[in-house]
């Protein structure tokens, strides 16, 4: 059975495609080095539209109005610019209510776009641009440590990693914050209250790596202006040992935190990249494997939710579970040496 892979790797090659959701301009070129927070592409679009019913304003038929309209598609009009003038001794006129661009003319009407919204797409990881996808974005390559998360609040930043976790099951509380943490990315364990998120915002911190977050805090976490990445799940879960070891041994290093929102269709996952110098290019990891004995796995549901173990054997056929359901399963030896049976669909390969 195919196994999804959750990346927690000390040193690897990371290749990521970064694309705008709409067409725009790419701001970087091939071989250019970028930082995680650097804008690599931008898109602009109209904030809103104004539809002028010229025929009604002039009191004429739509066909007549079309013949009186002076502007064309793509014309840029100033506020109060004359769009059409009626006929007669005291002709009425139609004017642009605001500055904007004409996007459609016909049927006695003029549609204008007014105002402008702009979005910038950031690199998300430090590295080298290896491909430009015209009008859409780029492909970036980087080398270093990689830790994927399960939830992100959609923000990106980079900074010095500071570990405030004594153990994988530590919880972060506001009393642990002080000004020395300003501008850092905090490795903080379980997040159980809003005050902790607010205290980090007040510092301000450059980011938060949490093992888990209480479900009631999710909407507030989305509003925070610093990136928040959750490594293990929603609720009260300790950090899995593989992520804890890798992150804690890289404390005091500069890291990039791309707390991208999980998008299972597009393949976007929140990620931590620890840039590391390499003499040769390490291999890029596989995104899918087949379950096999000896593989390191992470368990995604009770029992042993969040724990890391290794597959001892894949059980033949279907196995009856304590829940009463029957499924393909494997014997997994956990780090505490306990061996349990886990359905394959409840595991992912770590690597």
């Amino acid at each position: 059975m195919l196994a999804p892979v959750h990346h927690i790797i000390g040193l690897t090659t990371i290749i990521r495609e970064r694309l705008l959701p709409v067409s725009g301009n790419v701001l970087v070129r091939v071989q250019q080095k970028v930082t995680a927070g650097e804008a690599i592409a931008e898109a602009r679009w109209a904030r809103e539209h104004v539809l002028l019913d010229v025929a009604r304003l002039l009191g004429v038929s739509p066909a007549m109005a079309d013949s009186l309209i002076k502007c064309q598609v793509d014309d840029k009009l100033a506020a109060s610019a004359e769009i059409a003038v009626g006929r007669g001794l005291f002709p009425r006129s139609a004017r642009a209510p605001r500055e904007g661009r004409v996007v459609a003319v016909g049927g006695g009407q003029v549609l204008m776009e007014v105002g402008e919204s702009k979005m910038e797409l950031r690199a998300g990881l430090p590295g080298t641009v290896i491909q430009v996808i015209p009008t859409r974005g780029v492909v970036i390559q980087s080398h270093g440590g990689l830790v994927q998360g399960v939830w992100g609040n959609g923000r990106i930043d980079s900074g010095l990693l500071v570990n405030l976790m004594q153990t994988p099951d530590s919880a972060l509380t506001p009393d642990r914050m002080d000004v020395s943490l300003r501008g850092s990315i905090i490795m903080g364990g379980m997040i159980r209250n809003l005050e902790t998120l607010q205290a980090l915002a007040e510092l301000p911190a450059r980011g938060l790596i949490a093992s888990s977050i209480h479900p009631s805090l999710i909407s507030k976490a989305r509003e925070m202006r610093y990136p928040i990445l959750v490594t293990d799940g929603i609720g009260s879960l300790p950090m899995n040992s593989a992520a804890y070891k890798l992150l804690s041994t890289n404390a005091k290093r500069e890291i990039a935190l791309n707390a991208e929102t999980l998008d299972r269709y597009a393949g976007a996952k929140p990620e931590i990249v620890i840039p590391l110098p390499t003499s040769s290019e390490p291999p890029a990891p596989n995104d899918m494997e087949s379950f096999a004995p000896g593989m390191q796995v992470r368990i995604r549901r009770p029992p042993a939710h969040g724990m890391i173990g290794s597959i001892v054997s894949i059980k033949p056929g279907l196995t009856a579970l304590p829940s009463g359901l029957r499924a393909q399963a494997a014997e997994v030896k956990l780090e505490n040496n306990e061996t349990i049976v886990i359905p394959l669909v409840n595991m992912e390969v770590v690597g």
Binding site: V22, V103, Y265, D287, G324, R326, V345
Partner: protein, 586 residues
Amino acid sequence: MAASIVTGNSLLALDVGAANTRAALFDVIEGEYRFVACGAAPSTVDAPIRDVSEGARSAIQALQDILKRTMLDVSRSLILPSQPDGSGVDALVVTVSAGPAVKTLVVGLLRDVSLDSARRLTESTYARIVDSMSLGDQRKPEQQIDSILRLRPDMVVIAGGTDGGASRSVQKLLDPIGLASYLLPEEKRPAVLFAGNEKLIEEVRALVGTLASTLHFSSNIRPSLDIEDIPPAESELAQMFVKIRKKQLRGLDILDHWAGGHTLPTAYATGRMVRFLSNVYGSPKGLLSVDLGASSAVIAAGFKSKSVLKAFPQFGQGEGLPGLLQHTTLENILRWSALDLPPDAVLEYLHQKALYPATIPATKEDFAVAQLAAKEALYLAMQLARRDFPKDSAFIKPTLTPLFDPIIAGGAALSDASRPGSSLLLLLDSVQPVGIATVILDQNNLMPLLGAAASVNNILPVQVLESGAFLSVGTIVCPVVAAKHGASILKARVMYENGAEASVDLKYGTIEILPLASGETGRITIQVSRGADIGYGPGRGVKNLSISGGALGVVFDGRGRPLDLPGDPARRRELLQKWNWALGGG
């Protein structure tokens, strides 16, 4: 059915679900079509594979492994038709429910008339209504345009104008849609279905034809103010949905090509099967199919006068699960719990399951929490579906679930045959059926596959249905009655084929079972207390009614309707535990 009518063609049916893809083989055995076996594999809609044909190939591979029969060639393409060496299959049909709910804009002239009909039509597929427009819309046209540009609907469903009626008003509604589509990049333009005044077809074609990704027409779903005719439009909507999915889900075009275009939305295929069964059995009661899976809850009901098909992605047990709390509260979910669970346990489950929709409960406790969410979701889906059941359906009380027989339950949350008692309790609590009915578990989730198969072979579904591929849970007897807890409300005696008898004195607030094994039939005589109604009128029982057995036998649900759970949590949990035990639960 005479064997000579059967052409001897094998048929493979693929169901591409949000969590799993299943491959079921039907073939001719001893002159009749039979369900042979089913293989399953995780769906590959998501990254990194993002190609549904891979999951389908894995499911077919699993089926090959079970049957020791080759169906894929060396390039992993399906062998079609079957070869003299026995490899391959003769036909393929595909159903699909995977993918995000299709964002839909519904448009109608009048909010309570055509807009309501457009909404009902849209609910027959895996859609999420993101905006609606009618003549009563207070927004300016440019605001409507901006709304469409912001929401980027995948699909626009337009109803309005009785045949020969208003035309200018419909055009007025179409203007903002045409303009917004014009402003969208070509690949983002919505598909448009017009199901309104048929005289406007050419004008609709002129106004939005070149601006829609695809333009579809169906007969008017509201030909007059007092007539609604949705089924023909459901068929067009189903085709439109498949076209949208082929654009969204890589690999579906390959499967559709193998299937020769016989791809249907899973919900639509289920609805088709329910319509078919309704016609075949012609029972004065309705026929109900409920299906609860990762992508949605689907309720399909067939009545004498009409059929109703409802797909509710908002109640799916997968990635949208935290959204359940937009429709209910944690307290409402917890009211179904026999365990004293902290609210956080449920809240965390909803979010964790959304992160990993394909995971399953492995522990008893996890199973119990999963059942709570499933029960509340199906309860809500049934409440919503009931709004659109016909007023002339057979019922005991118009405020309760109509009389249905049989009731067919499918989907991952319901159809697991290893715990029929849990499935039945989920069904009894959420659907709250009334009267006497047979309950069937679609343990292999064949309903949609048979519905899809009917499009290429109309003998197959009939023969497979009669072959025992479904698991009968048994007969349920659910009186509508109000009484004091513990009061006798019904006395029943079952006479078995071997002449033996068993009887029960059902007390209000309890569940009782009399044995009647699968494949056996019996005769039941029921006397009810004054005021109790099992579908024959208050106080009226039934004599020597033929009933069929099943995994549980004859189940008497004496809890009354609507099910009124005690407000006191301890008392409620005690009762829930007793009912769970009564049906064999742990």
